[in-house]
């Protein structure tokens, strides 16, 4: 991070870091000196009380300035243990203040209420000594099945083995929970870590990391500014984040909304929905459908068993092993790269390249200002781009390609082949069906075409080789200007030839039977016994008819 900053800023950052480190060291290594001076006198007082909790009754705790530890135990007793600490400029002051800190334990019909009461009135007097400070820490054992309510601030909360319903709000401290039940866990300006919950869980944080794992029920997480990590959730998950990374693994289903942070979701048994802004999204092993909306970040998906619907902008999309009924991608300003798609594929981007391999359903690819590449598409393809080249290989069905200012190159098309191009060359090899090509200002080369051939070109050469069909012959119509036409037809097939050009020659390797007047720029006749149309129209270019190899 610092390497991008100017030198003077680096120095200030280093000073800040050093200061921070010093503070941390002091906080964690400072050994309390047994006070010899009045200014550092510290005293502590222990508080202990045990009360019995009735069935269905709850424990309520209201505290600040210190930690709270709660642990579930067998039996019906609530064992309250607290340490009250005070520090002042003299032993007497510290002792006096420590004595004034009260711990109130009330038993009501609802259960036990525990509250820390600080001597607010005496504070002013107390603070004549600037170094006076205090804290109270709790360690409470309680029935493991009892509900709890905790309100704490300026201290951490630790809860273990309490399976009753929990309602916990903490602030300015960490919140750590182990082996809980159903609960609502809130924190502000501190992290939350929850491991093990027997029921539904709701977690909310304002500015701190959230980590949740091993939840038997559903999980709902909200975090305003901080990362979220959740694992092993048996129920559905709803995550709302912001300005922090989201990681989710092993959940029944998930709805994730965040911004300015990455999302990583894996092993989701049902549907997954992600709404992100300005973050990288990566998902894998999704049992249901995946619905992704993103911007200014890449999207990567793999091993999705349901349909995929991805809308993003300004980011790359890369996907593989999508086994659902359909994959729909809408992108702008990003490349799309897809591999092994089982269902129908509809992918569109602007200003990005599209690459597809092994797409088993119908395929429609659209781009503007980007190239399109596809291979191994057994059911045919429609590839449309604005200013980009198109390359299609091993297409099992009908193929449509449209572009301008880009070349079209295809190999092994097992259906009909149609191209609409302007200002770009067209090259096709091994087309079993009909080939129909429109282009201009570039050459057209068609080799081993099994069906009818129709080429309409301007200002570009045409070179065509027809293969021998299983039966009969196929019509050929080629038209261009200001360039040559060369056509090769199988020996022994019959054509009705009409060839016309201007400012060029007409030549033929095959014998042509012609009647009437013969001119240098036009020729009508029969090749073999005739049958199919062979129409060759040029201007300002020569025409050559030859045998196919």
């Amino acid at each position: 991070m610092i390497r991008h900053l100017p030198n003077y800023r680096r120095q200030s950052l280093r000073r800040a870091m050093a200061a921070g480190l010093l503070s941390a060291m002091l906080l964690f290594t400072a050994k309390p000196v047994h006070s010899a001076t009045a200014a550092q006198d510290q005293v502590s007082r222990d508080f202990q009380q045990t009360v019995t909790l009735g069935a269905g009754q709850s424990v309520h705790i209201e505290h600040k300035f210190g930690s709270v530890r709660l642990h579930g135990e067998s039996g019906r007793e609530v064992k309250i243990s607290a340490t009250i600490r005070a520090q002042a400029s003299s032993h007497e002051e510290a002792e006096s203040f420590a004595q004034k800190i009260k711990i109130e334990v009330q038993q009501t019909g609802e259960g036990v209420r525990i509250k820390t009461i600080y001597p607010e009135e005496e504070k002013k007097w107390f603070h004549f000594s600037k170094n006076s400070s205090w804290s109270v820490s709790y360690d409470i054992g309680m029935p493991s099945d009892a509900p709890i309510t905790v309100r704490n601030s300026f201290g951490g909360v630790e809860i273990a083995g309490v399976h009753g319903a929990a309602d916990v709000e903490n602030g300015y401290g960490t919140l750590n929970v182990r082996d809980a039940g159903t609960g609502r866990w809130n924190n502000a300006f501190g992290s939350i870590e929850l491991v093990g919950a027997g029921g539904n869980v709701s977690v909310s944080d304002n500015n701190g990391s959230v980590q949740v794992s091993d939840v038997k029920g559903t999980l709902e997480v909200r975090n305003r500014f901080g990362s979220i990590t959740a694992r092993d959730i048996q129920g559905a998950v709803i995550i709302t984040g912001g300005n922090g990374a989201v990681t989710l693994a092993n959940a029944a289903s998930a709805i994730i909304t965040t911004s300015f942070g990455s999302v990583d979701a894996s092993n989701i048994r049902g549907d997954l929905s992600i709404r992100d802004n300005n973050g990288h999204v990566e998902i894998s092993a999704i049992g249901g459908a995946a619905d992704i909306t993103n911007s200014f970040g890449n999207v990567i998906f793999t091993d999705v068993h349901g349909r995929v619907n991805c809308t993003t902008s300004n980011g790359r999309v890369k996907g593989s092993s999508a086994m659902g009924s359909s994959v729909t991608i809408r992108d702008s300003f990003g490349n799309i790269e897809l591999d092994t798609i089982s269902g129908a594929l509809d992918a569109e981007t602007s200003n990005g390249k599209i690459s597809v391999r092994d797409a088993r359903g119908s395929v429609t690819l659209k781009s503007s200002f980007g190239a399109i590449e596809a291979s191994n598409v057994p059911k045919g393809i429609r590839a449309i781009t604005g200013n980009g080249g198109i390359s299609l290989t091993d297409i099992g069905g009908d193929t449509f390609a449209k572009t301008s200012f880009g070349s079209v190159l295809t190999e092994r098309i097992n259906g009909n082949f149609t191209v609409e191009n302007t200002n770009g060359s067209v090259t096709a090899r091994n087309v079993k069906g009909d080939a129909r090509v429109n282009t201009s200002f570039a050459g057209v080369t068609l080799e081993s075409i099994g069906g009818r051939i129709t080429v309409d070109n301007q200002n570009g050469a045409i070179s065509v080789t027809a293969t021998r069909p299983a039966s009969g012959c196929r019509d050929i119509s080629l038209k261009t200007s200001f360039s040559s036409i060369r056509v090769r037809v199988p020996d022994g097939l019959g054509y009705n030839l009409t060839a016309r050009t201007s400012f060029g020659r007409i030549s033929s390797e095959l014998p042509i039977t012609s009647t009437g007047s013969i001119r240098g720029d036009s020729l009508s006749g029969t090749i073999g016994s005739g049958g199919c149309q062979l129409q060759l129209t040029d201007s300002n270019g020569s025409i050559e008819i030859a045998k196919a190899p």
């Binding site: 800023r9 502590s44 340490t83 300015y172």
Partner: protein
């Protein structure tokens, strides 16, 4: 009976004792060092904040607007913690949280400056 009651009372109201190994309250010498370090931290952050101010006051992107919002939240937390630390200066938890907020603010300001177009 009197002995039992007295014993119980003494147990629950044991005499106040000095602490030898607790870290929940900072001693005066450590506190001075911490306060000094915090001042250095504040000054460094103030410099970063001054550099980032033009971007944050008129955020050109949603990301910068988000950083601005986050810094407001952090400033609110820092204000609250400083107020509490003023009353309870040696409380280690308050100091730790204040330090964490300063670190978060520094990190956020660095990210703002890195996001500069």
């Amino acid at each position: 009976m009197v002995l039992a009651v007295s014993g119980g009372w003494i147990y629950f109201h044991r005499p106040i004792q000095k602490i030898d190994n607790d870290k929940s309250l900072l001693r005066t010498s450590a506190l001075k060092e911490v306060e000094s370090a915090e001042s250095s931290y504040e000054r460094a952050i103030d410099k970063l904040a001054a550099e980032a101010k033009p971007q944050l006051e008129n955020p050109a992107t949603a990301l910068l607007a988000n950083y601005h919002e986050k810094l407001l939240v952090l400033d609110s937390a820092i204000g609250e913690l400083r107020a509490q630390a003023g009353l309870n200066p040696s409380n280690a938890q308050l100091r730790y949280q204040l330090l964490a907020m300063y670190q978060e603010k520094q990190r956020t300001l660095e990210e703002v400056l890195e996001a500069k177009p």
